[in-house]
């Protein structure tokens, strides 16, 4: 199933949730919608599911107009952040729900339904919980049941809204890996929404980065990390150092200090320089583009994180390998191994 979204606009009062979104999702893809809260990612997901309606724009599944159908007819599996399991039904009945509410003509007989539910509970490895109620399950178990319930109707598309957002860090990591392997097994076109970049980069084949109702970049996890298309993406994904610089006459200046960096193809004016924390190489004073005094050092496993006050007045955090110990009070030179400059 391919999904195509064209020029989608949705406004809540004076708040523009979606501001002209275009997106194509290929068959069998596992796509992540990544962005801060209020970026419109959940609204986009809900419109695809039919739980919300756009003010204008088109949504089509395999070339067919999806907006002509309600959520009920779209045959889309939806997994909610807070599970939304039916609290008065057992796990078994929760999973069976989608099969039991089918119109009489297409409804399967009881033995078939039972076999199908059993199969799904096996798939999510929770068959032993069939007779429990949702309130008796842990968060991770509930979310897996919610997934089994969504898969019961053999959905054409699987949509997951912050599926791991309500879980603690350890369970979240396990479920991430599990979701990826499950997707390889069932191979249904899937979109999941997350504000957690690590989650998006680890699980998805392709990542859509959103901000303020617009798509900032679409690309593979490597693309969005290694070559961010906009200042927002660079700042949002990975840990970046952001410095306000001035490009003028072939020179980049930080404050009134010229930086020894290439400026090919840059537009003059106020710009933003982005460097990954671990791309700042430490050397002796005078050796790099920046100079600064180490304020404070903490050790994180293989790296040391140092707070450095640059001579231009800015304070930045860098991650340096521990082969050369830094101490508070050291004066060091810093040279960005890789950097990007965005106008504005």
């Amino acid at each position: 199933m391919t999904i195509e979204v064209r020029n989608l606009v949705k406004q809540f009062g004076s708040f523009k949730a979606l501001d002209g979104v275009d997106l194509k999702v290929d068959n069998g893809e596992l796509l992540a919608l990544l962005g801060p809260s209020g970026s419109g990612k959940t609204t986009l997901l809900r419109i695809i599911a039919g739980l919300d309606w756009p003010d204008s724009g088109e949504v089509s599944f395999n070339g067919e107009d999806a907006l002509a159908q309600g959520a009920r007819e779209r045959n889309v599996g939806f997994v909610f952040q807070h599970y939304a399991l039916f609290r008065h039904m057992t796990v078994f009945e929760n999973v069976a729900f989608g099969l039991r509410v089918q119109p009489r003509a297409s409804r399967k007989d009881e033995p078939t339904i039972r076999a199908r539910v059993k199969e799904l509970l096996d798939l999510v490895q929770l068959d032993w919980l069939a007779d429990r109620y949702p309130s008796q399950l842990s968060g991770g178990q509930r979310q897996r049941i919610a997934l089994a319930r969504a898969l019961a109707i053999e959905p054409r598309i699987l949509l997951l809204d912050e599926p791991f957002g309500a879980l603690d860090a350890k369970v979240r990591k396990e479920l991430r890996r599990w979701l990826r392997s499950l997707h390889q097994e069932i191979n249904v076109t899937s979109i999941f929404v997350t504000h957690d970049q690590e989650e998006a980069l680890e699980v998805a084949n392709r990542v859509v980065v959103m901000d303020k109702g617009r798509i900032e970049q679409i690309g593979s996890p490597d693309d969005v990390y290694e070559s961010p298309a906009t200042a927002f993406v660079h700042g949002f994904i990975g840990e970046s150092i952001e410095l306000p610089v001035q490009v003028e006459g072939g020179v980049i200046r930080l404050g009134d200090r010229p930086l020894n960096l290439a400026v090919d193809g840059l537009v003059s004016g106020a710009s933003k320089l982005f460097v990954r924390r671990h791309d700042m190489l430490v050397g002796p004073p005078g050796s790099g583009a920046f100079e600064g005094a180490v304020q404070h050092v903490r050790n994180f496993g293989p790296v040391q994180r140092a707070e450095v006050a640059l001579s231009g007045g800015e304070t930045i955090e860098i991650d340096a390998p521990r082969d050369r110990e830094l101490r508070a009070g050291d004066t060091i030179g810093l040279k960005p191994r890789r950097y990007r400059i965005f106008a504005g």
């Binding site: 739980l51 009920r72 889309v76 399991l85 609290r87």
Partner: protein, 303 residues
């Protein structure tokens, strides 16, 4: 007196967690000397005995003062039977109507966003804040001989005032808030996600309502119906204004109690009053049971 018992049945109390906190806090706050503690408890017990238990006992004592036979023959009087029947009919009508209206109102308020919502919630509480006598008078103004619809109703030979429809209307008005008020907080807390999940799984609107929404609020519905019923059977003021007190026809149980009492038929008056008192006791027990179920529901959704 019995009517007051029914009237004082309160709306859902604060949630279970608050109560649990109160219990935990009590231990650390228990610093008063034992004498003061005993004195306070004694005051509460004496007050309750004098103002609640004693009147209740007296009702039954008076009802049986001439023996069991007199008690039952008083209840078997045609007038008494007519009042019991009328009370049951009126309660059934008003509880039925309020169940439907209450569900609809709670649904609208809890699941949709619209302007004027706060006003609607305030409006639902109106019958609680207006004296029942005024509520009754409103219907007299509307449907009475000199009222807005009076001449039209007379021309079409429709009797509302001094008949079952008027009594049912007044009772419905006075008891309207019970079901809605029991359901609104419950449905607001539960949100719309389960309904959305049901619809995305292919359920129709009706299937969603009967399989998902209703089971989730069933204890709240029963709770609201119980209180609504207790008040409907015990209502005096509004009904008194619209009933016309036609003996054997438009007297409900509370009205008949007053009439019999004024005619010095104490055994008969208290025999009927004892029925209302029993209704109140049964209501209290059922309310306690339902509140336990409601609390369990809250706990289950706490995670």
């Amino acid at each position: 007196m019995t009517m007051q018992i029914a009237d004082s049945v309160s709306l859902p109390s604060t949630d279970a967690r608050a109560r649990a906190h109160a219990v935990a806090a009590r231990d650390s706050l228990r610093t008063e000397p034992p004498a003061i503690r005993i004195a306070i408890i004694a005051m509460a017990v004496i007050f309750l005995s004098v103002f609640v238990v004693l009147p209740l006992v007296l009702v039954f004592a008076q009802a049986f003062s001439r023996g069991v036979l007199a008690y039952f023959s008083a209840l078997a009087e045609p007038e008494a039977l007519a009042a019991i029947k009328l009370t049951l009919i009126v309660a059934a009508i008003s509880v039925g109507l309020n169940l439907v209206f209450g569900l609809v109102a709670a649904w609208a308020i809890a699941k949709f966003e619209f302007s004027g919502k706060t006003f609607l919630i305030t409006l639902i509480d109106l019958p609680f804040s207006v004296s029942p006598v005024i509520s009754g008078l409103v219907f007299v103004l509307l449907f009475g001989a000199q009222g807005y619809f009076g001449s039209w109703l007379r021309d079409h030979d429709i009797q509302i005032l001094f008949a079952v429809p008027g009594i049912a209307l007044a009772t419905t008005f006075v008891t309207f808030p019970f079901v809605a008020r029991a359901l609104i907080p419950l449905m607001q807390e539960q949100g719309t996600q389960e309904e959305e999940a049901a619809i995305s799984l292919g359920a129709s609107g009706l299937q969603t309502f009967f399989r998902v929404t209703l089971p989730n609020i069933k204890w709240g519905v029963l709770y609201g119906v119980l209180l609504c019923n207790a008040r409907a059977m015990g209502e005096f003021g509004a009904v008194s204004v619209v009933s016309g007190h036609i003996r054997g026809e438009t007297n409900t149980m509370p009205l008949l109690v007053e009439i019999l009492y004024n005619e010095y038929q104490f055994v008969a008056a208290f025999a009927i009053a004892s029925l209302l008192a029993m209704l109140a006791l049964i209501t209290l027990i059922a309310k306690t049971v339902l509140e336990r179920h409601l609390d369990e529901g809250h706990d289950a959704s706490d995670h």
